[in-house]
């Protein structure tokens, strides 16, 4: 149990590092979702299935979706600004 737990904690640390080092935002969101799933697994192994259940939905679905929405909006705005600049020329 101890090996499994420490291995998982190490894996979480590694994936957190990977998220920070990922350049592409879309890939980063997918990595964030994976990180959330790992966290849920950790809660489950440390005998907190209640917390694991909410972590699965919040960490693996809700949080990445929120970030995704924000990124979509930013990209959209950039495109619109580009179009405006082209028109004004």
């Amino acid at each position: 149990m101890m090996i499994l737990g420490s291995g998982l904690l190490a894996l979480i640390a590694v994936s957190a590092f990977v998220i920070v080092r990922t350049d592409d935002v879309t890939n980063q969101i997918i990595a964030l979702s994976f990180y959330g799933l790992l966290f849920a697994l950790m809660f489950f192994i440390f005998q907190a299935p209640d917390v694991a259940l909410s972590q699965v939905t919040v960490g693996a679905i809700a949080l990445p979706l929120m970030v995704m929405l924000a990124i979509t909006r930013m990209k959209h705005r950039e495109e619109l600004n580009k179009r405006k600049q082209e028109k004004s020329r």
């Binding site: 737990g5 209640d50 909410s54 939905t57 919040v58 705005r77």
Partner: protein, 257 residues
């Protein structure tokens, strides 16, 4: 600030943090050891006293039910605050209604999604609603409870959004009944608390018959409160997603003009 000084500042900070962290970690309990007395006491008493097999929910919805009521209203007031801040103004609302009639799919992403993702996310919709309802109503028996169940239910429309079924997503999340359910779930929790006052006991006492341990309709108010919290949390999360999306939509439209 040159890179050298920056590195020096970082190293000083890192060494300090490492020292404090090691000092703190030295005093931590060994692996998988529990030191406090309360957990053991409650774990041995909850099934006997409340007929609830999930001790965590026996604590959150019964032993410290008043605290949970406060937490629930924190979520309630937070969502109300978000809705107040992001509310559309009247003139804008009129325009927006006209626009949305002309162009209801304006937010649809042009990029095509793979069929596998579409099929699976749509198929998961019914499953996650059912699973959320199960988790919320069986809070007294199995791990989970109102908050977890509510979040799972609220994730179902998000799955639709991922599947690019944006129309269905908007129909669900913009439905006025969601607002009703948010208030309904929150107030029902408080009303269950007043039920105890009618019976002459302190606020939020578990006055309902406890039933047989392991039965769905057992452990008195715990299951009921768990279901109410589930309704409130699901509605609250759906409302928040809708409010943020509406904000995104309005920004896009303003820029397109």
């Amino acid at each position: 600030m040159t890179p050298k000084i920056r590195l020096l500042v970082f190293l000083i900070g890192a060494v300090g943090l490492g020292a404090v962290y090691c000092a703190g970690a030295r005093n931590m309990p060994p692996w998988a050891e529990y030191r406090g007395p309360y957990g053991d006491v409650i774990a041995s008493l909850a099934v006997f006293e409340r007929h609830a097999t999930d001790t965590v929910n026996a604590i959150t919805y019964d032993y410290r039910g008043f605290d949970t009521l406060g937490e629930e209203f924190i979520l309630f007031s937070a969502v109300t605050g978000v809705m107040l801040l992001l509310r559309p103004e009247k003139a804008e609302q009129k325009k927006r209604n006209e626009e949305s009639n002309e162009n209801p799919q304006s937010f649809q992403d042009a990029a095509a999604l793979s069929e596998t993702v579409q099929v699976f996310t749509t198929a998961l919709f019914g499953f996650s609603v059912l699973f959320g309802a199960y988790i919320a109503t069986h809070g007294q028996l199995t791990p989970g409870g109102g908050f977890q169940g509510g979040v799972i239910i609220a994730a179902a429309p998000m799955l639709l959004y991922i599947a690019e079924n944006t129309d269905a997503f908007r129909r669900i999340v913009s439905h006025p009944i969601v607002e009703f359910f948010e208030g309904f779930g929150a107030s029902l929790y408080a009303l269950i608390g007043f039920l105890a006052l009618l019976a002459g006991a302190p606020f939020l006492t578990n006055v309902l018959p406890l039933g047989q341990t392991g039965d769905v309709f057992s452990s008195g108010t715990i299951g009921l409160i768990s279901t109410c919290v589930g309704v409130e949390v699901a509605a609250a999360f759906i409302l928040v997603t809708y409010e943020y999306l509406r904000e995104i939509l309005s920004c896009e439209r303003d820029q397109e003009r």
